[in-house]
Symmetry: C2
Amino acid sequence: MRSTGSKTAASKASAGLAQRLREAGLRPTRQRVALGRLLFTNGDRHVTAEGLHLEAAKSGAELSLATVYNTLHQFTSAGLLRQVIVDGEKTYFDTNIGDHHHFYAKDREMLMDIPGDGVSIDGLPKAPAGMEIERVEVVVRLKSRA
Amino acid sequence: MRSTGSKTAASKASAGLAQRLREAGLRPTRQRVALGRLLFTNGDRHVTAEGLHLEAAKSGAELSLATVYNTLHQFTSAGLLRQVIVDGEKTYFDTNIGDHHHFYAKDREMLMDIPGDGVSIDGLPKAPAGMEIERVEVVVRLKSRA
DNA sequence: ATTCTATTTTAGAATTATTCTAAAGTATTG
DNA sequence: CAATACTTTAGAATAATTCTAAAATAGAAT
């Protein structure tokens, strides 16, 4: 295993991630990089703070739950994540920040993306005076079939 | 003010409400009637447990917050109310149980109905295998204009 | 490299919304 | 009116999340 003149796949990924964090105004600390890697290296994900904390622990990263909360919020403010509110008890964070909607099955705690293209919503009234539309979200609530 | 042979508007309303509660399998207790009156006598409403508890107290009804929670859930199970989840911190209950959607302005804690007729949603994928659609909810998130 | 400073992390306490528990109260039935 | 099942409630408990202030660290300056 060489250590000079080239980079491992992992360190290259980290380098890209570190860059991304810097561009978002966030220092690429060990904790943020670890969470960022879990969140952004494999396609779209929906996580809760608890869940991500557990996952990070399993992957060998040591960080506090408070840091997971801080980081999720910072990533959200930076536009790297989006918050999804479909359940009164826990908050989900979605790595898909593009235009899309959700399926949510409370009885399975399952949250799934619905691509935004293809879905059209018509006939919405315009925003009340003094307000503007920030986003239109569709939640399709599912239940397991009997 | 007569007291024989006829009923005051208030007692008639209560009588109707008591009937409604009975039909829903709920004893029309003092607390349930008080809350039911607040909820159902003036058109569509969106309340939180805290808010309704406060309002009940102001209206002279004495009941505990736990009872407000119990009652809101019982009314919901009975189909008299619907839960609306648009904010991670608190749960709203909506007296409008028909087909409709919502505007939500977090910065003003304002929740408003959008009538369901008029709004059309097309192109949603069908439910994943083994699941069925319970409801499709649209939330239009608003922010105050700068 | 070492030092400095602002940013970050963290343990643990605090907060908030909500639910639970078990004892006391009340509506309905007989 | 007495019996019984359903309700209410005070207060403790829980769960998710936020706060606090002290210790750690990244990046800049020396």
